[in-house]
């Protein structure tokens, strides 16, 4: 596979930087909600009529969130332009453009939440689009990696079901769980849907881990390790979820947001994003590295690469 002379490892590193900054932005957003600071800055796009208000109380979290968002938007703009100029794969260039549009839409939704005093559907949409945008940046980081571009021809997947399909459904289930979590956090839904679906996600992730560790051949080391990591993140997320629930019961009626509550709910949001990212990476790599039995044989000249 010829290397494009216009591609450079710096593009991949910049993609990682963008994805990392997006993850920090998700944490910053969770802190805004935790500190009940969503309306601490009543105007938009300026903050108290300035670019930099006095950073005290809730303003620190809300305007801090806006500053990180501006950084992410800047990084994404640079990345989109860089991809458009240097990336030879059209679908990657389009993904970069889609991510740029997503971050612009996210900024607009953020403005609407402030100007229209936190309408719940917009709050939930803002939270969900944040996760989708994060998925886009993670995808860009993955597909611009030297490892992705130097992958061998696909090997034969499991049957049946195929590992890559299980990974896809698992990732979709994780995303639905994040949507239910956002709806719960912004009081659009109760706790029960989120808890029930956590059970479904747990089954899917554990099944994925089982398939990865017991059915995939040892040569698929990356998929096995990443799937195991998803399992670890699931365990952590379930513990944080239970902790969040207990904390809410303990701090019910508290006169102000309490730091342990803010910490644990923010961690729950952050680990949820990481779990989604892990599922996404496993899915993308699985579809890159594995193929249906007939398709794998047609790719490979050597039967030793198939999994009998």
């Amino acid at each position: 596979m010829k290397e494009n002379p216009r591609e450079s490892p710096w593009l991949h590193r910049f993609s990682i930087l963008t994805a990392g900054a997006t993850f920090l932005l998700i944490i910053a957003g969770a802190l805004v909600v935790g500190h009940q600071a969503g309306l601490a800055v009543p105007d938009w796009p300026l903050s108290y009529g300035t670019l930099m208000p006095k950073m005290e109380g809730g303003v620190f979290y809300e305007h801090g969130h806006r500053l990180i968002a501006a950084l992410v938007a800047t990084l994404m703009t640079v990345l989109a332009v860089w991809l458009w100029r240097a990336e030879r794969r059209k679908w990657v260039r389009i993904l970069g453009l889609a991510a740029l549009l997503a971050v612009i839409a996210q900024a607009v939704l953020g403005g609407i939440t402030v100007l229209y005093l936190l309408p719940i559907p917009i709050l939930v949409g803002h939270a969900c689009l944040a996760q989708l945008f994060f998925c886009m940046t993670v995808s860009l980081a993955l597909v611009t990696s030297p490892g992705w571009n130097s992958l061998d021809e696909p090997a034969e997947d499991l049957c049946c079901p195929a590992f890559r399909h299980v990974a896809f459904v698992t990732t979709a289930a994780i995303f639905i769980q994040l949507v239910l979590g956002a709806a719960r956090r912004h009081k659009a839904l109760g706790l029960i849907p989120h808890v029930v679906w956590a059970g479904a996600v747990s089954i899917m992730v554990l099944w994925l881990v089982y398939l990865a560790l017991n059915k995939l051949p040892p040569i698929q080391k990356t998929l096995r390790n990443l799937s195991f990591m998803a399992g670890v993140l699931l365990a952590l997320q379930l513990a944080l979820g239970f902790g969040s629930y207990r904390m809410r019961l303990v701090s019910d009626g508290a006169p102000q947001p309490e730091l342990p509550m803010i910490f644990i709910t923010t961690a729950h949001v952050a680990v949820g994003a990481l779990l989604l990212a892990a599922g996404l990476i496993v899915t993308l790599l699985a579809y890159r590295k594995l193929a249906a039995p007939g398709a794998a044989l047609s790719f490979n000249q050597s039967p030793q690469k198939t999994m009998a």
Binding site: K54, V59, E62, I104, V108, L117
Partner: protein
């Protein structure tokens, strides 16, 4: 359901138009400020026959532990409060009565209408705290919102029957004057800069309301003779109703009792 064309122009136009919007108010078409058309007036109140209802709101049980407010996040707030500040959700007086209970005439005035006073009711943000914690105002009466602090506040009432707003008030800024067009008991108020700041505003259509003091007492003066339902609202313990009949020039006593 409206469909949106997904092109780059739509979010750009939306962003530009939103940037021109005034901050912090819901659109006028969502909540109307116009009060309901009043019914035909009942018989005028004869001052020679008015009575009053007095009373107390007592408390039974163990007073909840005081919850300290932490203002460390804002140095100006900690500097303004040399002594510890505690939540006012439940304030039990020394005589085992409750402070900050909103008491008002809920029913019995018929179709009488009462013009709101021209004098505004003051709520002051001082020491990063709302003073008073619970207050009453008539529908249409002005609320004078003052910032006596050397720090920024934003005043954010969250009504369900009235227009919601969220306005910033820098230190030294002029008082904000607002009103609520419709009766509503109670409207929570918060400051998003200082999340421990909370107040409650009772908006009623008549002038017969009071907030209990440090003796747990209240007085509703100037009531025309009639049968009334008096309601007491407490932030944590909810509401209680009492029925009372006030004769000409009578003074009746009503007591409420909340249990902890």
């Amino acid at each position: 359901m409206m469909r949106y064309k997904l092109n780059w122009l739509v979010p750009l136009l939306l962003t530009v138009s939103l940037a021109g919007c005034s901050g912090g108010n819901k659109p006028a078409e969502e909540t109307s400020n116009a009060p309901a058309t009043p019914a035909a007036p009942a018989a005028a109140i004869d001052p020679a026959t008015v009575g009053e209802v007095t009373g107390q709101v007592s408390f039974d049980g163990q007073a909840p532990a005081k919850v300290r407010i932490h203002m460390d996040a804002v140095p100006a707030c900690t500097e303004a409060n040399k002594e510890a500040v505690f939540s006012e959700e439940v304030v039990v007086n020394d005589n085992k009565t409750l402070r900050n209970v909103f008491v008002y005439v809920k029913e019995g005035l018929g179709n009488r209408t009462f013009p709101p006073p021209s004098e505004p009711v003051l709520i002051d943000q001082k020491g990063c705290w709302y003073h008073p914690h619970v207050l009453g105002v008539m529908a249409g009466q002005k609320l004078d919102i003052k910032n006596s602090d050397p720090t920024n506040h934003n005043i954010h009432p969250m009504p369900s029957q009235n227009r919601e707003f969220n306005q910033s008030q820098p230190p030294g800024a002029a008082d904000l004057m607002q009103d609520f067009a419709r009766p509503e008991v109670m409207i929570p108020v918060k400051c998003n800069v200082h999340p421990w700041m909370k107040a409650y505003i009772g908006v009623v259509a008549n002038p017969f309301f009071a907030v209990t003091d440090d003796k747990g007492s209240f007085t509703l003066k100037g009531l025309p003779p009639g049968d009334y339902t008096i309601e007491a609202w407490q932030e944590k313990y909810g509401t209680q109703d009492q029925k009372v009949t006030v004769g000409p020039k009578e003074s009746k006593t009503v007591t409420f009792n909340f249990k902890g």
